[in-house]
């Protein structure tokens, strides 16, 4: 770890040694059985992560490419309702606006999305709802089950960005009525950045649009994916596929239930520390919203600057995240996704606690001890 930093960000996250070794393999032909087997094995575990029996495809591109694929293939020219309560909801809205007739349903970042307004949009003819499940910019978990039920009631498609929840927190795409769910490789899956996966329902396939993009044409992914061995329509990022297959093998070994429990335990520990420090979590919750279990967003205490706080933490070899856009300087964020376990959490909280104290925060309690209590339970 000498010249590596511990990344406690809401992605990218540290990549296990086994996964990095898998990427080292010499180039293989991506239209052959070895590649096909890695792709198929990955899809198998991803279905478990998504909570779906639907088909899953892997795209060589970032989570944003997955989001665009969902909207462009199934939403072009349609009325789309896009609740926004953070940066990634805003990105999904922008994509929806580029392809369809999108209505922004804006809430202040970190506050609940407006379910009544979503229902109203659907009553007014929205054919698709987009939503970010785990909004990392604000540390809030949006109500996928409730939005899915609304979308089904009005026979609309539900596109859910699960980029930072799938593989870490509970996602039940089929039970919730998600038609297109998206995940990114470098978040809870603890693989290197550069891949997105999408799970697509039969209802969505029935409504695929004619005028589709080329590289992100999901019908082409479906066609190549049905071959044996499985293929991608265009040259895939082979090392990343091999790395992802290994990270998914690790997930299978851990088991999704255990993995979700671990993510929840780690984020509980962070929240316990925040409370002991006397600081406030950033999100405002209601009955159906929850704190994110993969990233914790904390209000910056009076008198402490972002650069002082994060600079001190960085000097101890650890990177935590600041706020994005208008939240810059107002919050800081601690990621707890992927392969993270007690040592990384304790080290990070110890560093942040020290940084808070040296940066001039008042009456900073012993958050490290509070977290240890949670982790030891």
């Amino acid at each position: 770890m000498e010249n590596e930093r511990l990344l406690m960000l809401p992605g990218p996250v540290p990549v296990p040694e086994r996964v990095r070794q898998a990427m080292m393999r010499q180039a293989i032909n991506h239209r052959g059985p070895e590649f096909g087997a890695a792709y198929e094995a990955s899809v198998d575990v991803l279905k478990d992560c998504f909570g779906t029996e639907n088909e899953v495809y892997i795209i060589s591109g970032s989570g944003t490419a997955g989001m665009e694929a969902a909207v462009a293939n199934f939403g072009r020219g349609k009325k789309i309702a896009s609740p926004v309560n953070g940066k990634f909801g805003d990105r999904l809205l922008k994509i929806a606006q580029r392809y369809g007739d999108a209505t922004a349903i804006e809430s202040e970042w970190g506050t609940p999305i407006d379910l009544d307004a979503v229902a109203e949009s659907l009553e007014n003819g929205a054919e698709m709802v987009t939503m970010v499940h785990n909004e990392t910019s604000a540390g809030i978990l949006n109500p996928a089950k409730e939005v899915g039920a609304l979308a089904r009631k009005h026979d609309a498609l539900f596109v859910m960005d699960g980029v930072t929840s799938v593989g870490g927190d509970e996602v039940l795409a089929d039970d919730w009525g998600v038609d297109v769910a998206i995940v990114g490789s470098q978040k809870c899956l603890a693989a290197p950045s550069g891949l997105a996966a999408v799970a697509v329902s039969e209802r969505a396939w029935e409504r695929i649009v004619e005028d589709r993009p080329f590289y992100l044409d999901l019908a082409a992914y479906r066609k190549s994916g049905s071959k044996s061995p499985m293929e991608t329509p265009y040259t895939p990022a082979v090392p990343l596929f091999l790395g992802l297959a290994e990270s998914l093998a690790i997930i299978r070994e851990e088991g999704m239930a255990a993995r979700i429990a671990r993510h929840r335990r780690m984020s509980s520990a962070v929240r316990a520390a925040v409370s002991a420090w006397g600081l406030d979590l950033f999100p405002t919750l209601d009955a159906v919203h929850a704190y994110s279990n993969t990233v914790t967003a904390v209000r910056m205490p009076e008198g402490v600057t972002d650069s002082a706080l994060r600079g001190t933490v960085k000097r101890m070899g650890i990177e935590i995240a600041g706020g994005q856009d208008h939240l810059k300087g107002n919050i800081f964020r601690i990621g707890s996704m992927g392969a993270v376990s007690a040592p990384e959490i304790l080290a990070t909280l110890a560093a942040v606690q020290h940084a808070l104290r040296t940066a001039g925060a008042k009456d900073v309690g012993d958050g490290v001890e509070a977290a240890a209590g949670v982790l030891d339970a």
Copy 2:
């Protein structure tokens, strides 16, 4: 090399150990100085490969993503002339048809593109010409300089797919009047698959369209690329960027002139072997077309099947390529791109020669000796 196969394909190609080691690095923050420095250093060498002073951006996606970015950002809604004499020309045509009013200028695969028809299209108002420089499906090098001159004469944009020439053969994007040039990582650059780079001229930027895709919005790449440290608009495939930076460092060490000379020497050796075997090269040439220097396409001799030929070669640990689409069974192709040098060429030719003889080809001369004569010169 025990359980690795030598890939003598028109990509993917073997990736040098140094490059694979570079990918092994633990995840780094892609919005920091280390990533930015790798990106900048890569752009610097890529300019040399492209023969351009224009800005260069790297996209996390395959060469096809780069091709789509070029057409979607600068050709949407425009009249496009698309000469086709192989599979990748056809792909570029399909992309052009998806975004613009594209005219196909079809030649039989492996025969020269029709320059008169390109000129006619331009006289009839085409605002963009697309062309594949090195058409690997047919082993032919198309006349970029001539097409560039035609496009300039009519003030049209010239989009050139240099996916399998840039970094291996001579490319002079600025001298030839190329407005958007594209390369893929897993070809002559000898990096892992999964990245594309585009070089964009000022003339192209002046004509960028309003209605752009999201993930492949080159204006967003330009904006993020102008930051210091350099960034990408969305999360990049970090291990691939680090691998590519290393492969480009190797290119800088070799020097572009030496690298081009090496590619030409290797393909000359392959062509000398084909001639000694008594076989025919697949392409038909005219004054401005040339044989590809990164892949050699050979007509399958009478009585030899694709599976017998390539199966025997594969049993000796080497993969060569067959024909694509309607050329399946009619040609075979030997790649000579990337880090390839005399040992790989000699081994491959020896294996192919043996396979030809055992598969029943008549009077197969000593191509290995002929190639050795070229390589020893």
